[in-house]
Symmetry: C2
């Protein structure tokens, strides 16, 4: 099943069921008005949505219309909880290596996450407003899951059942604000502007065999200004799977319905696959050529992030955004 | 005007208007079903709520009932944005001094904030579940504001008008998890369990002259297990006022309606007033006696946080919670 939130008079948009090929959609106000409402009562509501999705595939629903990704808000236009992992530890190791710092051994066994802002998510085709190019504008291509209610103290084995939806993320970062902000000791804030998500969120079964052991085993295809930039495989070198990350985030808290949990920037040891952020490419240039060569983004630059199934069909629709002056 | 969210069949509770003396309440489903709904359209909805509040004071509404703080959820039972400042810089300086570290001069001019979890706020009388006493359970007594939509790039002067509600906070902290977590570089996560709020949120005019220049000029009265622990004045030694903090949090982002912004632990240079967290008292003991003496909290311990007007009347109702094993 594929779901989206399309623009409406509500801040939360209108929940729609989207066809597998992303061409058609149908609103389901009689089942749930919004994505959050569906997640708040997922065990009762999901089966009804699944029925609509099946009927939509068969052309057996009335009121369907063409699905337009540019009319999609983030699947959750605003969320109560956005926590982003840094599960590709080789990426962390690489970045530290470039600045001559050792990474603690514990990073291989103890997940690293940060709490992100979730009141103002961007839709997949919305412009990305930034006050200044001097801030070092960068993408971060990721996968994220959405959970139902996960009680405090949930272990990895019990966490899988709480993973209800999967989507793509562009976790926009302002690289030149990060060192100063992290030096203050309390994590990211100004250095993380609004995060963007794919047009649709999908249930794990939509991924077939590609969803396995809490990982999405498919390449994330990244283009900048229409040029291929990277296609690292999200299932490779992901040190902590999503279920392990759910265990981590519920050690001392409940994670409530609609929790969005990101993988962190996807990164593979196989450097021939490119990167899912400019910072990593610059780090590799630093190591290999003695200095970074690739620039961060300028106003007018565009980024496309997408993931395809084995037959080359887009699973989530594309995140395709342009950076603009705020 | 005083507002609360009381328990209902909804995760977001039911919005009620509460009398100035905190004894009576009336539901307002015909105006707004929830606190978030009111904040989403505050300019239209607040005037209607103000009329109800006036009628409630005059005993001129039907359907009012006794207000029971133990039936109150957090004013926003879940929020899209919780960002907590550390505006009492003398507190930061003190903590650093105790561990022999210099605080950068920039801390006096550049606010420090962290992004907190907002999907699972605690009501004022809810127990505080923690998995282990070994985590170092501590309170943090604070004041918080709630905003309407604040656009990116809002300066301090323009920020005042966006401050719509004020409430008290207990920003529970797990002190023994903090050093390890902050050493990882991405800020707090596991070390910050669910945050608790006062039974009611009030509009700034309810504070009269005590609300001035973006600060609340009243003592925050803290008791632990019924014994006085501290009564630092929230208006004293607050290096960054709330309007300045709003400017800080909107440099690169919009802050959307229902943003909850905390002051950080209230702390005065006048040490005779005590502290609003155990960590600060332990730091003072370390400096004065060579070692900390006061223990962190144990299961069964209770904390009370309250603020009174010039006539000794409770403004927000009390946060009064017991720590329990999760």
């Amino acid at each position: 099943m594929k779901l989206a939130s399309i623009r409406s008079s509500s801040r939360d948009g209108q929940l729609v069921v989207v066809s597998r090929d992303l061409t058609k959609a149908v609103a389901v106000p009689q089942i749930a008005p919004t994505m959050q409402a569906a997640l708040d009562d997922w065990s009762n509501i999901a089966p009804e949505l699944v029925q609509v999705a099946a009927a939509l595939e068969q052309g057996a629903v009335s009121g369907s219309f063409a699905f337009d990704p540019s009319n999609a808000m983030a699947p959750l236009p605003r969320a109560y909880h956005w926590v982003d992992g840094s599960a590709y530890v080789n990426h962390v190791e690489l970045v530290r290596k470039a600045r001559g710092a050792q990474m603690p051994e514990s990073f291989w066994t103890d997940p690293l996450v940060y709490q992100g802002g979730s009141d103002d998510f961007l839709g997949a085709r919305q412009d990305v407003p930034v006050p200044s190019e001097e801030f070092g504008i960068d993408l971060e291509g990721e996968v994220a899951i959405v959970t139902d209610d996960v009680p405090m103290g949930t272990k990895r084995d019990a966490a899988f059942q709480h993973i209800k939806l999967i989507m793509l993320v562009n976790d926009w970062s302002l690289r030149n604000l990060i060192p100063g902000e992290l030096a203050k000791g309390f994590g990211f804030y100004q250095s993380k502007p609004a995060t963007a998500f794919s047009p649709v969120a999908v249930t794990p079964d939509e991924l077939g065999d590609a969803w396995s052991e809490g990982r999405v085993h498919l390449p994330l295809v990244v283009h900048i200004n229409g040029q291929p930039f990277g296609k690292p495989n999200a299932g490779v070198d992901m040190t902590f799977d999503f279920a392990r990350l759910v265990e981590h985030i519920t050690l001392t808290r409940n994670a409530r319905a609609g929790t969005v949990l990101g993988s962190g920037t996807i990164s593979n040891y196989d450097r021939s696959l490119g990167s899912a952020c400019i910072a990593e490419r610059r780090t590799l240039e630093q190591i290999e050529q003695g200095k970074p060569v690739t620039s961060f983004l300028k106003f007018g630059d565009s980024v496309r992030i997408e993931m395809f199934d084995g037959e080359g069909r887009s699973i989530f629709g594309a995140i395709e955004q342009k950076v603009v002056r705020a």
